[in-house]
């Protein structure tokens, strides 16, 4: 019984994000002109899953008390690359998928190497590397276009058994295959330790550098999965800097809404996924209540700012002000 209480408190932020999302989505779908039906859910899911995956990528790095401002650009780069190589026969498309994922891993590895061996701050490193990734994306797709292997795209963005959005199933699969094993592995534990207290982690013999590297690597990988998915939704590639920038920004909003601490060491990618779905639903709510779309970016900005403020409320408890700068 007591165990149950501790487990609940550990997952409180994730559960809260889940409950908030359900309530908001309930309000949204019951006010949608078309009502709650499979089509509304499918459209919302396809949009939501893109941000959910990018937010998940962001979570890996944020847990280590870092931040990855290149996730949006890896996402765009993977999209442009996929629109070239995930085409043709089933075999070439499969090879293409592997190529896109490898590209994400390479991007993550570059970030990780610079942060660990170059000892640069994550924020600077990933802004710079993000600019490089976008530059490559633009060379790949100077103008929007390209194609994608249709059957795969249709299968992943359609519906299973006529009701369940396939994209949600794919998201679930990514969580089960990547996040849950990571969370339970020694390297995942090390990532939380590093984010919570790097000196204590070091003194406890935790592989500090390995944990950080792995976090950036997985961030790149999941961001490329998101880019792949964007290609399946749009059937094309586009080097859109606006897209890259806003996905990066929204991913930070999503992880904070999902209860992941920007100071590192606590939170879960599952929370971030619900945070992302919640963030998307906020935008949709404005739409069904007929607010001017011009107001949407302002409103999203306010939500992001408020979420970040709530996340740092604990600083008011610090009694020795020298610790504020630690």
């Amino acid at each position: 019984m007591s165990d149950w209480r501790y487990k609940l408190s550990e997952n409180r932020a994730t559960l809260l994000a889940f409950v908030f999302f359900i309530v908001m989505f309930g309000i949204y779908s019951s006010n949608h002109p078309a009502g709650f039906n499979a089509n509304v859910v499918q459209t919302a899911a396809n949009k939501g899953v893109l941000l959910a995956l990018v937010a998940m990528a962001q979570t890996f790095v944020v847990v280590t008390a870092g931040i990855d401002l290149s996730v949006g650009m890896v996402f765009v780069l993977a999209n442009c690359l996929a629109s070239w190589i995930v085409v043709g026969s089933p075999a070439t498309a499969a090879l293409g998928v592997i190529g896109v994922l490898a590209c994400g891993l390479i991007c993550g590895a570059i970030n990780g190497m610079i942060v660990i061996y170059g000892r640069l701050q994550p924020i600077v490193t990933t802004i710079a590397s993000g600019a490089v990734f976008f530059g490559i994306a633009l060379l790949l797709r100077p103008v929007p276009g390209g194609d994608v292997y249709g059957p795969l795209a249709d299968a992943l963005t359609g519906r299973l058994f006529g009701a369940i959005p396939a994209s949600l199933v794919a998201l679930l699969a990514v969580i089960v295959v990547v996040w849950i094993p990571y969370r339970r592995s020694a390297i995942g534990r090390a990532a939380y330790a590093v984010g919570s207290s790097e000196p204590a982690a070091f003194m406890s013999g935790v592989p500090v550098q390995g944990a950080k590297f792995c976090a950036y690597l997985l961030s790149g990988l999941i961001a490329s999965v998101a880019g792949l998915f964007l290609t399946f939704v749009t059937y094309s590639g586009e080097a859109s800097s606006a897209n890259g920038g806003s996905y990066t920004l929204f991913s930070i909003a999503a992880v904070v809404l999902g209860g992941v601490s920007l100071f590192g060491g606590s939170g879960s990618a599952i929370g971030a996924v619900f945070g992302a779905l919640m963030f998307r639903t906020i935008g949709d709510l404005l739409f069904v209540f007929n607010l001017d779309p011009l107001w949407q970016p302002l409103f999203q900005g306010v939500v992001l700012l408020a979420a970040v403020c709530v996340g740092s409320a604990r600083l008011f408890q610090v009694r020795n002000r020298l610790e504020l700068f630690g």
Binding site: S2, D3, K7, R189, S196, S197, G205, R321
Partner: protein
């Protein structure tokens, strides 16, 4: 069954130097299995270096360590751990956002199919907590939600989970409540009976009396005596710890002009969390007040509290008879209060290393050298020139980065920076740590000159020499409270050590000394 007096660990002629400072000098130590061995010594006697050498944190320059019959060298704390030497450090090594069970298995979690086996981890945690006598702590509780005393128990459990043969406890009881200390003692005695060796470093003499089987006293980096616990009186122990070499020259003390003078700084019943307890003292203009005691007894916090760095400070601070409550360093340096704090770490709290000497010198006194928000460069240069002459700062150019100066000159820049504000009350936090002897002497002379010109000086130092040589009055802190006030000729090494250990020192027995 091991015999109780078999040496498990033996250090022979171990030396360690940091730069020019010798921390350990041909130190010998024999630790037997099945014994609790206490290490005693004042600040800088070599205790912490000894522990660092044993636990693989630093490598010794000379000497050898025999462990279990063979010579060993440990490249890292992890290597020492694997060999069975586990240290519980004073600074906690727990990870706040992880659970107790996660923390206990942090360095080598039990795994199944590549993933952490949570039920096995839980079992390990429960066993370790039971061994440490802390079954009341839930293994799934997050460390950050536990009070400090419980965290310390987790720290002990974490060490026990590594199945140590030698357990080193460095001030491991300082955060514990009395009830916990009693529990820990039961555990430690049981571990001893199980055949472990325990090295116990503490400044609490009554704890050592209750717990230890053998004691070794360190002084100036060497072991000076080893004896069976209970065979020496407190007074004899203090006697063994005395005998530091005097190497500094201090300017003559001048009796503060008039006892009638009102105190410039008066502190009444100052408290902050559990680190400062009911501190009251005063400092007159012209007086140098020293803060003594073992390191970490609240001296730093006292200076920070006076300077407005800490939140939630209770009690009264009076400057020149008026109540003040500086809310920040900015308020504390204001003309009406006139305080300056020379911080502990010049590299992080004192200087902006990449910026120029000139900029660094002006930071605290920008108000004095600017008008209407614009810095008056001529005025700035004039004042800086005076300071550089006053402190004899050796720098090629005042526009070069301060990081390029030597340690001693950097420290002078920190002091000069605060003198530019013309403070009435100067607080110094261990200002001579890690600087050369020549600069130290210049600083002593400067302190005396400042006092003579009417400033009140509060001076924390870990070096008893400086308390004796520089201070008109010494406050000895213990556990966040002032335990003893020594004035004038009462400030002796014997009195300082005895009061730092919080034991009553007997008056010097001249007859016994002659024998």
């Amino acid at each position: 069954m091991q015999s109780s007096a078999q040496p498990l660990l033996r250090m022979e002629g171990v030396s360690k130097r940091y730069g020019g400072v010798r921390a350990l000098e041909k130190a010998d130590l024999v630790v037997n299995a099945g014994q609790i061995h206490a290490i005693l010594g004042e600040n800088g006697a070599g205790k912490s270096t000894l522990i660092k050498v044993l636990s693989g944190v630093v490598a010794p320059d000379a000497g050898r360590i025999m462990y279990d019959g063979a010579e060993v060298t440990f490249a890292s704390p992890a290597a020492a751990n694997r060999a069975g030497i586990v240290c519980i450090f004073q600074e906690l090594s727990l990870i706040p956002d992880l659970s107790v069970a996660d923390n206990i298995s942090i360095s080598n979690p039990p795994r199944r199919l590549g993933m952490i086996d949570r039920s096995a981890q839980r079992r390990i945690a429960e066993e370790a907590m039971a061994r440490a006598g802390a079954q009341d702590i839930h293994p799934l509780a997050l460390v950050k939600d536990l009070p400090l005393s419980r965290r310390q128990m987790v720290e002990i459990a974490k060490a026990l989970a590594r199945n140590p043969r030698v357990l080193i406890l460095d001030e491991a009881t300082s955060a514990l409540t009395a009830a916990d200390v009693a529990k820990v003692f039961v555990v430690l005695k049981r571990l001893r009976d199980e055949g472990l060796s325990l090295l116990y470093i503490s400044h609490r003499m009554h704890e050592i009396a209750e717990l230890a089987d053998r004691c070794t006293v360190f002084r100036n980096g060497s072991n000076v005596a080893t004896y069976a616990a209970g065979t020496k009186s407190d007074n004899e122990v203090v006697e063994m710890m005395i005998g530091r070499e005097y190497s500094h020259v201090f300017p003559p003390k001048i009796k503060a002009p008039a006892d009638a003078a009102l105190p410039l700084l008066e502190v009444r019943n100052l408290s902050w969390t559990d680190r400062l307890r009911d501190i009251s003292f005063s400092a007159r203009a012209g007086e140098v007040v020293g803060l003594g005691g073992l390191d970490g007894q609240g001296q730093r916090e006292l200076l920070l509290a006076l300077f407005g760095v800490l939140r939630g400070v209770r009690g009264e601070i009076r400057v020149g008879g008026a109540n003040v409550a500086p809310a920040s360093p900015h308020a504390a340096k204001d003309k009406t209060i006139g305080m300056a704090l020379i911080p502990e770490d010049r590299k992080t709290e004192g200087l902006m290393l990449p910026m120029s000497v000139r900029e660094n010198l002006s930071f605290a006194a920008l108000g004095r050298v600017s008008s209407g928000g614009i810095i008056d460069h001529d005025k700035e240069r004039g004042l800086i020139g005076e300071m550089i002459d006053l402190l004899a700062i050796r720098t090629a150019s005042i526009d070069g980065p301060v990081g390029a100066l030597s340690g001693g000159n950097q420290q002078k820049v920190v002091i000069a920076k605060w003198l530019m504000t013309e403070p009435r009350i100067i607080l110094l936090n261990d200002p001579t740590r890690g600087i050369d002897v020549g600069t130290k002497q210049e600083i002593y002379q400067l302190l005396r000159r400042l006092a003579d010109s009417g400033a009140a000086i509060v001076f924390y130092t870990t070096d008893y020499d400086e308390l004796i040589g520089c201070c008109d009055k010494a406050l000895v802190l213990y556990d966040g409270a002032i335990k003893r006030v020594l004035e004038g000729s009462e400030i002796t090494e014997r009195a300082l050590i005895a009061s730092a250990l919080n034991i009553a020192a007997a008056p010097y027995d001249a007859a016994a000394a002659r024998q």
